[in-house]
Amino acid sequence: MLRSRRRYMAFELETEGPAGSIQPKDLMGEFAASQFSLFGDEGASRNRIKLIAFNGRYGLIRFSHVLVSQTRATLAAIHSIRGIRVAIHSKGISGTIKSATEKYLPRLSKLSAESDGRRIELKDVSGCIIRTQGVKVDLCPDDRDKSVGSDTRYLGLTSFDLSGGHEDADGTADGL
């Protein structure tokens, strides 16, 4: 009997929680729940998604080669894991683990996000910086009503928003 053909998908997990807050077991459970919910038992039986590797941010899954679209939809339909808002972005699909890793997974990824407790005081927004990653800044607003309606805990900003803002900002190179 022929072995069924497989594909490997590299993905990136974007989360509101601290780095490493999502465990591989939780992620796999959410994949299964999303797949059963969207395609039912019969659909899940035709496409057994298996988590090959996950390092807290990037990961690799294996699935059937004819059900690429279903697998993408399964991952895209996930919006939270254990109450933490997440988004799973597929990076690319390949036929072997080696090529998927080489093509789509960055070799050096900064997993430990910096959390320095600095404050931002601007005219429209004020709060504590939760983490920064490159130019991305996640801010916990003083006024919690600021993020009402979007179902998130933090405000997503960039250092472009903060540079040249209020005079109380301490004028470092990244504008914080």
């Binding site: 919910s37 939809a73 991952l75 919006h79 972005h89 309606g149 979007s150 405000l155 997503g156 472009f160």
Partner: protein, 225 residues
């Protein structure tokens, strides 16, 4: 392919315009259209223009207290913004919005009790109004509410196909975590009943609308060069 996405940014969403632009660029979009209800209060819009490799267009989601105000507001905003959208809340809103040629997008709520009507579809076709499918319920709902939503989408899609309406797919992202890449969106749209070709056209439609609206039309079919 030139994919665009309609988003809401701070203060109406929870991410700034530049964070949305950065995320959209990384996901493979050509541009984003900021559809806040009040475009004059967008937080740090110049910062978004500093993000290279992505086009930022400012549109408006038109809201008004009554239908007469909605009609006059659409007319007033048309000359200032290249993209106008209306989220259909009531039957009167749908009626006015579908009959206004100044409008670009009517985001139709997919509800089994209030499906897209034949009259609305005819009016939208005659006035070149695109029908928007917000597929965020597919991401945020589970179980029977999602099943009902899928049922309503397939019903509305039948009418869209029958009247050859142009449609647009969006997630209505209010945060950078709500955004999905164009391929993921197309995959979700396929689950909702779109064909792959329809999904691709629906994700490309924004660019055509923006290009048309940026031209200086003096009257129907007459352009000032």
């Amino acid at each position: 392919m030139n994919f665009y996405e309609c988003v809401k940014v701070y203060p109406e969403g929870s991410s700034s315009a530049s964070r949305m632009a950065l995320t959209a660029r990384n996901l493979g979009y050509k541009g984003i259209i900021i559809c806040n209800c009040d475009p004059t209060r967008i937080f740090m819009l110049p910062a978004a223009e500093r993000v290279k490799g992505i086009e930022i267009a400012v549109g408006v989601e038109v809201v008004a207290s009554n239908v007469r105000a909605l009609k006059s507001r659409i007319g007033a905003l048309r000359i200032r913004y290249p993209f106008l959208a209306v989220r259909a809340a009531t039957d009167e809103t749908v009626h006015i919005a579908s009959e206004d040629p100044n409008l670009d997008l009517l985001v139709y709520p997919c509800d089994v009790r209030r499906p897209l009507s034949i009259a609305t579809a005819r009016a939208a076709k005659a006035n070149q109004v695109s029908i928007g499918f917000d597929i965020s319920p597919l991401i945020h709902l589970r179980g029977s509410p999602r099943a009902r939503w899928l049922q309503a989408v397939s019903r509305n899609l039948q009418l869209v196909r029958k009247f050859h309406l142009s449609c647009i797919i969006t997630t209505g992202a209010r945060s950078h975590i709500d955004m999905r890449s164009p391929r993921d969106l197309a995959a979700l749209a396929e689950v909702a009943g779109f064909s792959p070709e329809e999904a691709e056209v629906a994700l490309n439609r924004h660019e055509f609308l923006l290009a048309q609206n940026r031209r200086h039309w003096v009257g129907p079919g007459v352009e000032m060069l």
